[in-house]
Amino acid sequence: MKLPYYPGCTLKDRTSQLENTALAAAAKLGVELQEIPNWTCCGAVYPVSETRIMNLVAPIRILKEIGESGADRVVTICDFCYNVLKRANRAILDDDVKRTRVNLFLSDDDRRWAASGRKVGEGEAYDGGVKVLHYLEMLRDQVGFEKMAAAVERPLENLRLAPYYGCNLLRPAQEMNFDDPEDPSIMEDFIGHLGGRVAAFPYRTECCGSFLGISSPAAARRLSHTILASAQKNGADAVVLSCPMCFYNLETKQKELIREFPGFQPIPVFFFTQLLAFALGRDAETLGFEEHYVDPLPLLQERVSA
């Protein structure tokens, strides 16, 4: 199966381990994720201003190009990109004014015209026809968790994993429609099908601080510490997540947490794709752990049979 794939900025550089493991795991499961050509930044946040409609051009341009290539869906891994693209698509479907104005602008879009060889004004208006999928949804619906489980070579039996969802996957629920925002289960299902055990903890849907990690770092540290401490209190060996921003706050910033919160014990944090690739047979040394502050390798070596 081939699916169009939109990486977004962060996956190419600062969290390349997320992308590498994702693509490798997908390949192992028979899915070739084909990076779309000529992609640009999605904008990172869904633009909510009712008067700055042109801010929608960035994400819609991406979706329109995918539509024009003949595809009706796109897979993304970064939670922020998922949130932006899905909500922008929803806006096109629901709001006539936004749809008309964005399409009007895009029909006149020099950059696309030059790159695609089309003439200015050619091509159909974008009508919201591309479905935006998160990698987890792709695993559950296109591949199937059962099929994924059957391909597992190294079940994660002795690992107690705390699934952390963050905000962008689940909310606003009316637009994201990804899972129950109060009681989601897709990550727990995912962990279970890899043979792992779930350490349930109450902070799995509470915000890590997001961009406050840069603009109000003390607040973000407090939030991240609370989340990690709760996971630890509930018996987690490690935290599993999918968002590069959450990874930054919950993993990279642990170096600051040990200074600010005496008694805080560092805890490894995995991208879900790293665990997936590992369970499917990839060597632990190739999972990109060198990018991590807390090296998860010892935990894997101790707990999971080779």
């Binding site: 129950d180 925002p181 109060e182 009681d183 109450p202």
Partner: protein
């Protein structure tokens, strides 16, 4: 040529500010058929009506048109006035020049011209109106009350005490409803069962009340005064005529099932009575859980019953009854916890709802009246009450306020304090609504004397942390987020129409509102009747309310029934369909068009006949008839044609 009088009302400024009433009278006076025309400030007043009566006499009028507000308001008024002056009331018509003219237009010239046309079209109608006599109908002076909670019991008692027979139908094995589950009632703190059971017993023993418990209404036909209802008496698998309610079978039953009466916090047998004071006090067998019915074993109840009252072969029985009036009192349930994700979806054992807390408080409840939490039986020392759990939430749950929760939460907090002296109750609220008699004083007693801490702010989330529950709320008055680690959380969940009521309302063809509650005929002036004649409403089936309101409303509904039954005959409007036998070809298209089953085919004569008592004058048959054989009295095709021509100014 008919002599028609036209009376144009000013309705103060409602009509006269937009329509030039003097001009109208001047124009209309000249229209053929109009023998007299005048205008007056308020036609519906006594002097206004006198004008009509005097004119009928003085000008020998044989038709009257009152150009005023909508006929739904005063058609009856003016028809009565005309009748008292010796004119057949069906020769009096209303021309609506308010709702359909002055209230919807701003241009005085155009509005005046339109008013004239409206009146002229009514003149054409009155020209051909016949004098009609209302049809009289006998009535069955027997009432059916659906729902055996306090509303149904009160209504049944009031009707029965007036000398009429009442069938009280209740789907549970016993009457009593939710009030039987309550511990104490606000604001007096009366023991709920102590004040309810005397009424229950009275209803059970009343010579005029026939109790049909464990029964449901299945089918209904007919019309006010003459309903035929089919009621299914569900098989109890116990012969209630033989049973004495000794209770040995319920003691000996080996199966344990979660007790619904105790909100799944205690258990009952597969053969059970709902509670000790049940009326009737006879058990039923829950066949889905009975070991004999599911696995073919046991039969202990049969063995221990000396009176041989157990009958596994018993079948449902459908009985047919004739009644003249029906009171619908099907009550409420509370919003299920599995709807509230932010409070745990009902999966946290120590997050319970108000009704479950009542059962903990109740001396006959699962903990014998000691407040112990469901998970481990520990006495909670920090207890949080969350108001507005699901109510006042148009976005996700119930848009309305459930009215009773502020009061019952205050009551819960107070009763908790009385039993757990060193406990600390907290109540999270958005507003405290205490509109009833002595309610505000009760709330003050709770918040000031009992040390209950009231915190203004809606709780965002409740989750489990170890063996405690973390409550995330806010005190908007000091502007601080608060967190409480509670031993027990009680959610004041909103009131919803009782389970199964939607299906019942469909069967009875009763209108309900967007929240599933019964609709009353008029929200202000007719609160205990449905718009469907013969149906009366009582209690929480119509919307959230407390016990005093419910009882008052039940008596109100009963009084309507009694007023209905005090007449010897009922009168039916004569504006019904009729069939010209010479034109009718017997095609029967009209029969399928009729929504009231009011038409029958006469095989012998080969034509269709109208059952005038069932006909509601909707006109669907007239529209469907290809030959024009069926017409509606005083609204014939010819009349309509002339009215249309007049309204177009032709």
């Amino acid at each position: 040529m008919k002599r028609i009088g036209v009376f144009v009302c000013h309705c103060g400024i409602n009509i006269a500010a937009t329509v030039d009433v003097e001009k109208v009278v001047e124009e209309v006076r000249r229209y053929p058929g109009v023998a007299h025309a005048e205008h007056y400030q308020y036609m519906c007043s006594d002097p206004g009506q006198k004008l009509v009566q005097e004119a009928i006499d003085k000008h020998k009028l044989d038709g009257v048109i009152v150009a005023a507000c909508s006929p739904t308001l005063h058609e009856v008024t003016f028809r009565r006035a005309s009748e008292n002056a010796g004119l057949n009331p069906y020769q009096c018509e209303i021309a609506n020049i308010r709702e359909q003219c002055s209230w919807v237009h701003a241009d005085r010239g155009a509005a005046t011209r339109k008013a004239i046309r409206i009146i002229e079209s009514l003149v054409e109608k009155v020209k051909y109106d016949e004098s009609l006599t209302p049809l009289s109908v006998p009535l069955t002076k027997r009432a059916m009350v659906v729902g055996g909670g306090v509303a149904g019991i009160q209504a049944a008692l009031d009707v029965a005490n007036s000398g009429y027979e009442v069938l009280l139908v209740e789907k549970q094995p016993s009457i009593g409803g939710h009030m039987a589950q309550l511990s104490e009632t606000f604001p007096t703190l009366d023991c709920s069962q102590c004040i309810l059971t005397p009424k229950m017993v009275e209803a059970g023993q009343h010579k005029n009340i026939r109790l049909l418990t464990y029964s449901e209404v299945e089918e209904i036909s007919g019309y006010v005064g003459n309903f035929t209802v089919k009621i299914r008496k569900k098989a109890a698998y116990v012969n209630w005529d033989a049973c004495t309610g000794c209770g040995v079978c319920t003691e000996k039953c080996p199966k344990k099932v979660d007790s619904e009466f105790n909100c799944n916090m205690g258990s009952r047998g597969a053969i059970y009575t709902m509670f000790p004071q049940a009326v009737p006090n006879y058990p039923v067998i829950d066949r889905d859980n009975c070991l004999y019915f599911t696995k073919g074993r046991c039969r202990i109840c049969e063995k221990v019953c000396d009176l041989k009252a157990i009958d596994y072969e018993q079948k449902d029985e459908v009985v047919e009854e004739q009644v003249g009036a029906i009171v619908v009192a099907t009550g409420y349930d509370t919003l299920p916890l599995d709807q509230l994700g932010e409070y745990g979806y009902g999966k946290l054992p120590d997050v319970i709802d108000g009704m479950a807390f009542e059962r903990l408080l109740s001396a006959s409840g699962p903990t014998g009246g000691e407040i112990r939490r469901p998970s481990d039986g520990k006495v909670p020392k920090e207890i949080v009450f969350v108001q507005c759990a699901g109510s006042r939430d148009p976005e996700k749950h119930l848009p309305y306020c459930s009215k009773i929760c502020c009061m019952y939460t205050a009551k819960h907090a107070l009763l908790y304090k009385h039993r757990v002296h060193d406990g600390q109750p907290y109540v999270f609220y958005i507003d405290v609504r205490t509109g009833g008699k002595s309610y505000e004083e009760f709330y003050h007693r709770v918040s000031e004397e009992e040390g209950v801490v009231y915190i203004r702010g809606k709780v965002s989330r409740v989750f489990q942390d170890g063996d405690q529950l973390i409550v995330w709320g806010v005190d908007t008055l000091t502007g601080k987020k608060v967190e409480i680690a509670a031993d027990l959380v009680v959610l004041a969940t909103g009131m919803i129409p009782s389970a199964g009521s939607q299906a019942l309302f469909s069967t009875l063809k009763l209108a309900s509102d967007e929240n599933g509650f019964l609709s009353e005929a008029h929200p202000k002036l007719r609160p205990v009747e449905s718009i469907q004649a013969g149906f009366y409403l009582a209690g929480a089936a119509q919307g959230p309310r407390d016990i005093p309101e419910t009882v008052a409303q039940a008596s109100g509904a009963a009084s309507k029934v009694i007023a209905l039954f005090s007449q010897e005959k009922l009168f039916h409007e004569p504006i019904v369909a009729c069939v010209d036998e010479d034109l009718c070809s017997g095609c029967k298209v009209c029969i399928s068009a009729c929504p009231y089953d009011a038409r029958e085919f006469d095989e012998k004569e080969g034509i269709v006949r109208v059952n005038e008592l069932l006909c509601e004058g909707c006109g669907a048959c007239v529209v469907s008839c290809p030959s024009g054989a069926t017409q509606q009295k005083n609204l014939t095709d010819e009349q309509i044609r002339e009215m249309v021509k007049a309204s177009l100014g032709e």
